[in-house]
Symmetry: D2
Subunit: 463 residues, 4 copies
């Protein structure tokens, strides 16, 4: 790394999961639009061919006249090569394939358990964690051995489990997890200002919030726009759209878009608990007991969000593979549009180029007073040169604490299950999730079949 | 109070709920057999006539030649009179009548919720808490005003909520809660020694245990008999009787005795979580999610414990009322048999007559490292002259912590609901109990009807 | 208060100590240059005439054409009037007169104790605390009664004791303490960049620091200028000027200016403890054991800072009184130059006009992990609309923790002494200060004489 | 180990420092009088000949008809042999020789620093710690490797540093430190009952106390004899003997016995701080700032305790060596008198033979709420089968906390200095001790000379 003229050059970023069709393009696009940074992006993926394609796409961006951030894209064949000399490490992987995800999402339906995402908690989130943990053990060891001083940014789900595993294996790691779900809620508040007050052009960054909780189950205790307290307005807003749901435009409607929602769950949680839940409804619903928002497909429909099917995801992947082909061949050119992600801003802050307050997933060192120390929590933090200083968010209200704590303890136990590979212990953790809600005998049948379905990613387990 | 010759005389004990038919007799009997103590027992009850009856019964005990502990029994008409000058305060009341208890226990059955006791957690425990809290607010204020230095012993359920309320209202109070459920589990371990090893005559006091958790959901992490570690033996024992259940004698069988159990739930929890749950199965079952042990009457039958009906309790009361009459008239004489309760031993320890280690319910000052400070927990404690020093029990294992924590936070919220009388907040707390497991709309119907049924004990509520 | 067009109008600020000759002028000048704020500044002082003078000076500022911040200046005769309706409260008082300060600073010299300031710790700081605490008890009660929701900014020393007393009396108070000593150290780092690297024009705000500790004994654990880590440079810088001291210009030399220093103490502390102490040397020296930097006047001279005499302060006051006269009469006009203080920026942040990270004195809620909760500490904090969220600074290194902890506990005990007015307890706290270092018999003589000298400000004491 | 008939046989105890002339005899005598235990005591010492002598003495005890505890005494040549298979490990060593102790105690006198013991804190305690730490690192590693499940009892000073080092190196160790200083204070309270109330025959075990603090600076917050609160009596007692001191018999007078004291320091600390300091005055004085009780020999004389010289200790050793010879040859026979130490009672408790509450030095897991977690503290604890459960002692009063905390943090830093061997860091820790009270330049001279004097025990230091 080399600092000069308000810029930092010769940065090495290692990208684990660099063969991604989607998120990698976003990241490379953002890099290509950033003038203050430059260096090498080293793409590593178990599917090296996919990484090679992204290398081609990335270097094409560098070659364009209209890009300002010029990066050298490379691929390597091992974690060691990727990490050695790295200043930053980005991890964004798909743990397993869509076949395992199909089991995560759909196998529980046989027992009446419906999941809208299946990647964080619930039976699907648990199984995904089981296969992710051994991969993250490997990443943590490699980072400890090859780039112990690098900053590590995780984008993979289950976020909490991933970050927690990194710290469990290598406690000195400088890792944090980024997620854009909170941004989405800021955007909703910006739209609310337009809808309720006629204020146009508010950017999500103009919405000042205090967040606290865990990933995908984060809570806003205070929101403001300049001098305006947004809570009274949100109270009105959530009442106005309580029955109908809220949607800003027709083509982004929850009925047409599996990833969209009408915010009814969010409005309902506000009514019940008094704070603004800061994630998409599809995520939020999975953190609540099963009978609440995911009882059955009719209930889901009533709350106006979708149960994303894995078939949908597979179709979506096909589209992205086709696009990859067009991008590699040059048939299609990447549009230079900022993604709205903050990853690159955070990198700049860690390099000392500008201070930045954002929300982040890191172990609790006291930022949430009434959640256990060491557990991974999501709060605001101040990013500065080579430092992430969490902003104290204090206590969650006791009824929200009770909802969140259950997941915190289950996720702590999930990491332990993944590390010890103790099948009976794992089963009890699996059963303890409020989305499962089965007797032990039923739960054991489901657990065993799901475990079998993902067995090839569970080295060392006795299945 | 006056100390002389290894004894303490002129003690004043205020007994709130002194009209009790049952527990008061036990207490007076134990007092009458204890040589080192003497003084006045002041019986206070909203049913003064019942207190008068007990006064007669008590003074008859004092008059007998075969009693060694001579006490003067009195009744008074107000808390102020009862408490003024008291060295100890015993609280053992029935909050409400069997009519309210009928609603607590049976109303939820309309929604498929079965409760084996209904006095601690679950919908019944919650409603009982709502009517108990205002009474305990009154007690705490009276103790603050009239006997701030007295030691206060609570025997009323919901234990955790009662003790917590006392400390919330008067933080300097010297209160603690006693419960014999742990003793029952010690007795089981003593019986195990006979059954498995042929060791006869082991008393429950010879079973050394480390306990941690909350009332009626306490866990034994270490048990020994002299130099013998009892855990390996309990593992065998619980396997041996896993299917059949364990019962020491025919007439104490769970099928004949509503308060008995066959310990199958206890054995199952041991298999699943690795520690010995230290309460009767009827209590334990209520702290687990609804689908586990209380799914329906068949499930309950399978696990070999009973759903105590309120009709049964009413019959039982009739028998006790009849006995009261016989005791008052002198037709029947109390048998001088030690109850096995430790209350009087604890009083002696607090008077400095002997050290005593027992289990006790008091606010967490660090005795359970991974439960919140201030919440009422049950652990061992060392009782000495004018001091209760909790014994550090460390961390609960994470999976047990997850089960216990849910109730700890719900009970903290329950106290808040009872103090604020905020109906919407109370509803959310009610719904959060794992035994409820209803959607909000169903839960609201049940909540409202139960609240109405107990409304006359809810001053200041908007019902 | 009224928000409009990116500005907040009709603010009411109560200024306790509003008769000040010096700091009030600074504050009014800063206000007059700020376009986004407006309203009433209510000056309250026990010397009402002095407040009246400042009212005249303030309103003259408002009347000028070249000022942008138009405020209405008023005086009132009671705390009640000042506080009622206040949005902000500023407290900046002189507790007692220079006569008491003379005793604080010079009486201990009879026992060989030299103090460079005498307002924070040491025998002088302790006695100043004793007379300040009853005043702050009164302020806290008045704020509780008349403006419980106002933000309260304290500028008075002893800072820690003042803020701690406010929270002790009214725990819900929204109070914080501001001090510019840390800014001075930022400025030193800016000068270092010029001296060592030839970088001109660096403002202190460009120096990014992480601070932790207590007021006047705050420590910088990380400092950067853009991407540059300043610690290696400071290591060189402090060595270069270790013997000679560092001074930027001749007229600001420590030999000519009682409030200046040559930073030798700061350089020495860095050599010994590895972090940058962030206050003037005159303050820092007083927090270290007596034999270190304040052993005798020769030692002080060697370390190149001054022992401010009270005679000097009296002379200085005379000059300021004369200036007051000129300002009131209009003979002299206030120069519109920003003070560099951040008070008004913090007010703007609390109004939601812009986020701001600054250092602040508030009770520890976990921002310093290894200092006691509740004690007032100084760290960075994020100021946002109606919220101060401390930034987690983690653990102080154990050897710095040991130095700071002694004062934290002594200041906790100092507040207790001031509140209980227990003379014997107070004496033991007085003796425990590392700057005192006397046997109890000598210490008692000094303590008694100092207490007598300040007796008229100690209502309720038995002196 | 083998349990039978209320006894445990075939125990293996490893005794590190088994060549001791004094403490080993005490231990072997106690063992020989205990019927419930038996097995092998394996004596290990770097002076193997000394261990052989003790083996002879021990086996002679076993051979006697009047002993009930029959042990097989052996010596071994390595830690590995001593520890392998051990159930208990006793560590009682002299770190270095009297030559190093001479420097510890007398070198600081050149700078006016007088020490009454020089083995815990102060310059002597620090230097002793420096040479002890590497030995304890070695012990901890050997225990980890050869007897990880053994209970380890430390008797060596500096107690806090020794125990802390064991846990730092091997966190799972089951180690605790025993010290009889608290017993001495219990004995003083027993004598007080005779002196003030004429109650004869009170044993120290009858004095019930709550202790909290650190070794040699432990504080009693509550003391009782049966139902009698001893604090009011101690208040009178300490006043009665404040000037003259208290001594029970002429030959145990502080003027004739270097290890005795007249308790004037203890009485003075009670007057000043309100609790009973529970150690001999010689130890207590060293934990207070230098000017208090150890200012100069005259001050020491005034407070009526002695400065033990190393010459005295050498003479004492000569006597003990002569006695060793007589014991080995059989010329002298050991008298079968209980030592009053509790070590063997604690071993019995850990074996499950009886519960026992005693005071113990172990890491703070919350037993002292306002001292740092992890630091070694001394409080009561409940010893049971294979468990030491500390009894919660709550908060130290703030002024006592301030005195104790300084040493806690210094001892934490001392361990760090000993482990890192960082000379400059060590110097700063050395200077921070309140007994040192020197400027850095003087302190450095003393530090360097003391370090040189003990250099042969400081492997890996750059001296």
């Amino acid at each position: 790394m080399r600092y000069e003229d308000s810029a930092v050059k010769d940065i090495k970023i290692a990208y684990i999961g660099g063969g991604s069709r989607g998120w990698a393009w976003t990241f490379m696009t953002d890099l290509s639009m950033e003038t203050q940074l430059g260096g090498t992006l080293c793409l590593y993926d178990i599917d090296r061919e996919a990484a090679e394609h992204n290398k081609t796409i990335g270097n094409a961006l560098t070659a364009r006249n209209d890009t300002k951030g010029k990066w050298n894209y490379q691929t390597v064949g091992s974690l060691r090569e990727a990490l050695t000399g790295a200043d930053f490490v980005v991890i964004s992987i798909l743990p397993g394939t869509f076949e395992e995800m199909r089991s995560d999402v759909h196998e529980p339906e046989k027992f009446g358990i419906y999941q809208s995402v299946g990647d964080s908690v619930g039976p699907g989130g648990f199984m995904r964690a089981m296969r992710t943990i051994p991969m993250y053990v490997e990443f943590a060891k490699a980072i400890r051995d090859y780039s112990p001083n690098a900053w590590v940014i995780n984008y993979t789900n289950p976020m909490t489990v991933c970050v927690r595993t990194l710290y469990e294996v290598f406690p000195q790691i400088k890792a944090f997890g980024c997620c854009h779900e909170v941004f989405g809620t800021q955007s909703l508040l910006a739209l609310m200002l337009k809808d309720m007050k006629g204020i146009e052009g508010v950017k999500r960054q103009d919405i000042d919030i205090s967040v606290s909780g865990i990933n995908h189950f984060t809570w806003i205790s205070r929101a403001s726009y300049h001098s305006m307290d947004l809570f009274p307005l949100y109270r009105e807003f959530s009442k106005k759209y309580y029955e109908t749901g809220f949607s800003d435009k027709a083509d982004h409607n929850w009925m047409n878009d599996s990833f969209a929602c009408a915010h009814r769950v969010k409005f309902d949680l506000f009514r019940r608990y008094g704070q603004i839940a800061a994630a998409g409804d599809r995520h939020l619903a999975e953190f609540m007991p099963r009978q609440e928002y995911l009882k059955d497909p009719e209930t889901v429909h009533k709350w106006m969000f979708g149960l994303t099917t894995v078939d949908y995801r597979i179709q979506d992947l096909h589209k992205r593979l086709a696009r990859s082909k067009r991008l590699v061949s040059g048939e299609e050119k990447i549009e230079l549009k900022p993604s709205g992600e903050e990853g690159i801003l955070l990198i700049k802050a860690l390099l000392g180029l500008q201070d930045k307050v954002s929300n982040v997933n890191i172990p609790n060192r006291g930022q949430v007073s009434n959640l256990p120390l060491g557990a991974v929590v999501e709060t605001n933090a101040l990013f500065r040169r080579d430092e992430i200083a969490p902003v104290l968010s204090g206590n969650l209200p006791v009824n929200i604490q009770s909802l969140v704590m259950k997941h915190v303890l289950d996720q702590e136990a999930t990491v332990k299950a993944g590390l010890t590979k103790d099948k009976e212990f794992a089963l009890q953790v699996f059963l303890d999730d409020p989305l499962v809600g089965l007797s032990e005998s039923d739960g054991r049948i489901l657990f065993n079949s799901m475990l079998k379905n993902t067995a090839k990613y569970l080295p060392g387990w006795d299945i």
